[in-house]
């Protein structure tokens, strides 16, 4: 090992060989971290990752080779490490850390936990488990050239959830359906369309023109009336998009003309929308065929970086619909496809549909390469950033194990040095937040929602799981009777899911006690009944930042990493990994970089 066994370090070296550590994630940071740990003298390491190896990992996840594509990351990482350090004692788990098997007792086996994750849900979960087990946690993230490491220790530092993180950016339905102004709106629309035609239909993912657009009228009551009218309307909009498509046999020409001509013409009748905007221009299939000319393969760029013309994308649309239709048919009755950026016809479909829509709305079309970035929430990644961050993680680990946790810091890796010449910027750790809804002693939150319109299922999935990061919530109403609203045991309260909260007597001022036993976490939820939430907003957490991610003014240079263009508006429908939260996940974690760069904060006094 490279820790010298000279007098000052013998004690440390001994504790390194003895202790057990857990590495959560065996990807970009994980591979580098495992290597650093064994070379530094750590002997007992457990690593967990649910993912398998993909060819796009090979530019940085150096423990993997091409022949390993498809295999378990944790397993192959272990085998590779043993090649250069056969005496290391490594246990690999091809599993999700959120599996209830990894309970507080499991976490208590370790002296230290190090995250090497790419999504918020898992980070929140591990945060809570480490708090419950009172084990120090080293958290980290990278995106492109930027990275960050920090230490979380119960009672001493902020936990991962002490600072509210900006939530995923979402776009209003009318922007997606009626008035897109940026390519991302069209891409989101195309992904919705995929689901409507081939995947799981979702009421929140409508693609047809929205007659209840608040812009259409100055009078809110009018909007309400239109919304009700369109609900009751027996016209084509009531027939599900999938059913309609099926009824035409997924006829590509009919589909094309409906989406890119008829629906656009319908939008044009809503003239208020186009008073100050450039109106969309409908396409016609036959007209386009006439224009079609063979596409030249130009130059030396990547094939995917070509931007085709309207004719090209119409062809692509037609071909991909054909392919997807037959894939769906092959799967049998009631089948659904799941969108995946690495599934070529699915990616082709979104590329084509998004581009056609961009063209209609006078936006420059984009290459498949660019669309894949946005639709798939791809975060560019390189080996060196991960190498630096993983080095810093181990250095923090050594401080913790020597009992020098007060030496621990949050460290930011910048792309360029700050005005104080620092490329790596250590900052003092902050103490826990007194009203953190996770690590405070009796955490409480207040949620605004409409008790008559919120389903129990929505409470469970969208509020407790998605928003508050619980994995298996149990909910009791504080009504004197201890009524159980949601049980984490499967099937027990399923009947409640389709009922509204008000059906259980929940009203303004009600309190819900929510427990997640796995996370050893209890949260008290105060309910505020509210009837005028914004359109498309189902609930609001009081005290939260608004949905639009706040951009610190100095982060403008880092716009291309932090919150901006790489975030998708919608949860990814891909089953392979949580790309949706990966992007803003890392970017949130790293977003403070912008602020730090301009802050001339000396972390240390002159005596250091």
């Amino acid at each position: 090992a490279l820790i010298s066994k000279g007098p000052p370090y013998r004690k440390l070296a001994d504790s390194l060989s003895a202790c057990r550590v857990l590495v959560v994630g065996a990807g970009g940071i994980g591979c580098e971290l495992l290597k650093n740990l064994v070379l530094t003298g750590f002997k007992n390491i457990e690593v967990i990752d649910l993912d398998t190896i993909d060819v796009s990992n090979l530019n940085r996840q150096f423990l993997f080779q091409k022949k390993h594509v498809g295999k378990s990351k944790a397993q192959v990482a272990k085998e590779s490490v043993l090649q250069f350090c056969p005496t290391a004692n490594i246990t690999a788990y091809h599993d999700s850390i959120m599996n209830p098997e990894y309970n507080v007792e499991f976490f208590r086996n370790f002296m230290l936990v190090m995250n090497a994750l790419d999504n918020r849900a898992a980070r929140n979960h591990v945060n809570r488990m480490c708090l419950a087990a009172d084990i120090p946690l080293i958290e980290s993230g990278t995106a492109g050239y930027l990275g960050q490491v920090t230490v979380i220790k119960k009672g001493l530092t902020e936990c991962y959830e002490c600072q509210p993180k900006p939530t995923q950016k979402t776009f209003p339905g009318c922007t997606i359906r009626n008035t897109p102004s940026e390519p991302i709106h069209c891409i989101v629309w195309a992904k919705y369309l995929f689901n409507q035609l081939f995947g799981e239909e979702d009421a929140d993912q409508e693609v047809s023109p929205d007659t209840a657009d608040p812009e259409l009228t100055w009078n809110p009551a009018d909007t309400e009336a239109r919304a009700t009218a369109s609900d009751q309307d027996g016209d084509i909009k009531r027939v599900s998009t999938k059913d309609w498509a099926r009824s035409t046999g997924y006829d590509t020409v009919k589909l094309f003309n409906k989406l890119f001509k008829d629906d656009i013409q319908y939008l044009l009748t809503m003239d208020k929308l186009w008073k100050k905007r450039k109106a969309p221009l409908p396409l016609d299939w036959l007209e386009i065929q006439k224009l079609a000319c063979p596409q030249e393969v130009t130059g030396t760029g990547l094939k995917d970086q070509q931007v085709l013309g309207v004719a090209g994308y119409s062809q692509l649309f037609s071909r991909s619909v054909e392919t997807l239709r037959s894939m769906l048919a092959d799967k049998g009755d009631g089948a659904e496809l799941v969108w995946d950026k690495d599934d070529p016809p699915a990616m082709d479909f979104v590329t084509a549909a998004a581009n056609l829509r961009m063209h209609i709305f006078s936006m420059n079309m984009k290459s498949r390469f660019d669309i894949k970035s946005m639709a798939g929430n791809i975060i560019p990644a390189i080996a060196t950033t991960n190498a630096v961050i993983a080095g810093l993680i181990v250095l923090e680990a050594l401080k913790i194990l020597s009992g020098d946790v007060e030496q621990c810091r949050t460290i930011f890796l910048n792309k360029q040095p700050n005005p104080r010449k620092k490329l790596l910027v250590p900052c003092a750790l902050d103490p826990p937040s007194a009203n953190c809804y996770v690590c405070a002693s009796k955490p409480e939150v207040t949620v605004k929602l409409n008790v008559h319109k919120t389903l129990v299922l929505a409470l469970q999935d969208k509020i407790l799981k998605e928003k508050f990061g619980m994995v298996a919530p149990d909910v009791q109403i504080e009504d004197g009777k201890g009524t159980i609203l949601i049980s984490s045991e499967e099937g027990e309260t399923e009947a409640n899911n389709s009922k509204f909260l008000s059906d259980f007597g929940i009203r303004h001022g009600s309190r819900l006690q929510v427990d997640d036993f796995l996370q050893d976490y209890t949260l008290l939820v105060n309910v505020i009944h509210c009837e005028d939430l914004e359109k498309d907003v189902e609930f609001e957490v009081v005290g939260d930042a608004p949905d639009k991610a706040p951009t610190p003014p100095s982060a403008q240079e880092d716009k291309n990493v932090a919150n901006g263009n790489k975030d998708s508006a919608e949860p990814s429908t891909s089953s392979k990994g949580d790309y949706q939260t990966q992007s803003f996940e890392v970017s949130c974690f790293v977003t403070a970089v912008g602020a730090i760069i301009s802050r001339s904060q000396p972390p240390f006094g002159p005596n250091r």
Binding site: C85, R277, L395, G564
Partner: protein, 374 residues
């Protein structure tokens, strides 16, 4: 000069390099793909740099190291198999290095770098020297600069490390900046507002820039006795001084040894210090006599500082204890920064760090600083 190859990137390359092409662009990837790099020294730092450059997709990487694998160095580096004792270090690292990326031509060279003729270096676009003596670094830098070859140096001593770069007097590169976008007005709540014409917020533009670097020789010729330099020294925190002054002037003072398990730094290349030690003790510093040797090294440090006209209080007493061998995480940090500087220089993209990077692993601080003519 690296000529951009007007060639197609294969499907295999596009798939493997996808995530980095999305960061630095196809042009940069092509330039990397046309570059040959020489890497001297395959200890911990060398292995990190090798990994980073091979993964980045350079055309070729030559691993040059004349030393043999010892029991210690087996455990010190992730490219060398545990069965490789007695083999040449570069040779032993070759197989695993090649596995990192079969598309890169990785070679091993077992010669002493001092014996290489000048023309040997001319086949490379960049040369990276790790764990080398000052004299060697100065010589190679001087030679390479004449031929427009980018030069990088680096070393790690316990918790500390540094890198230096000389990209020549006229290093051209591009920076990608977002196109200035007219701010959009927010939609107000009480009616449809005009949206400005659609400007894609993702559009960027490439700006050409030039940076000028001095030679290592010049960078080291900093006169600390003049008043201006002295006064700036007062405002410089101690650790900063430790890092850049001591490491620059006495790299070998803190150099790790390849013998034994007490990896006390054996000054091998600094004639001044070693000569003094030898003169005083009649032998080289030895791990077995750690305590005594450490004391002597401190004394030498004090003497040298005094000769420089600087107070010995500038260095913490226990600096020596911080400076054992190479620490893997420090190699990872310095190797990461150094590797990325090589990538930037070869791809001619993004502002290079000019011209030193110092890392303090105790504090977690990494500083870029310039030493050379104003």
């Amino acid at each position: 000069m690296i000529e951009k190859e007007e060639s197609i990137i294969s499907e295999e390359e596009a798939a493997q390099y996808d995530r980095q092409i999305r960061l630095w662009g196809l042009d940069a990837q092509k330039r990397l793909r046309g570059s040959r790099v020489l890497l001297v020294g395959l200890r911990g730092l060398g292995a990190e740099v090798a990994k980073n450059l091979i993964l980045a997709g350079v055309k070729g990487l030559t691993l040059l190291d004349h030393e043999q694998v010892t029991e210690e160095s087996c455990r010190a580096q992730f490219l060398i198999p545990v069965t490789a004792q007695g083999q040449n270090r570069a040779q032993a690292s070759l197989e695993r290095a090649q596995y990192l990326n079969p598309m890169v031509e990785v070679k091993a060279d077992t010669d002493r770098v001092e014996t290489k003729p000048d023309k040997f270096f001319l086949q490379f676009e960049a040369v990276c020297l790790t764990g080398c003596s000052r004299d060697l670094m100065v010589r190679v830098d001087q030679l390479c600069a004449q031929h427009n070859i980018k030069v990088f140096c680096g070393d790690v001593f316990g918790y500390h490390g540094y890198m230096f770069s000389d990209l020549g007097q006229e290093h051209n590169y591009v920076e990608e900046k977002p196109k200035v976008v007219k701010p959009k007005t927010d939609e107000s709540n009480d009616g449809p507002e005009a949206k400005k014409p659609k400007v894609d917020p993702n559009e960027t533009t490439m700006i050409k820039k030039t940076a000028s670097f001095c030679s290592l020789k010049v960078a080291l010729e900093v006169d600390w006795t003049n008043e201006k330099a002295k006064s700036s020294l007062k405002r410089t925190p101690v650790d900063y001084f430790l890092l850049h002054e001591l490491l620059l002037w006495f790299p070998a003072l803190l150099h790790h040894s390849s013998c034994g398990s007490h990896s006390l730094c054996v000054p091998r290349f600094s004639p001044t210090v070693l000569l003094k030690f030898r003169t005083d003790k009649g032998r080289d510093p030895h791990p077995e006599s750690f305590e005594a040797d450490a004391t002597l090294l401190r004394q030498i440090r004090d003497d040298v500082l005094e000769a420089m006209g600087l107070s010995s209080e500038l260095l913490p007493h226990d600096f020596v204890s911080y400076c054992f061998s190479e620490m893997a995480p420090v190699c990872a940090v310095v190797g990461g920064v150094l590797g990325q500087e090589v990538v930037k220089a070869l791809s001619q993209r993004d502002a290079p760090h000019k011209n030193f990077f110092f890392f303090d692993g105790m504090k977690g601080s990494g500083v870029v600083d310039y030493f050379g003519p104003k």
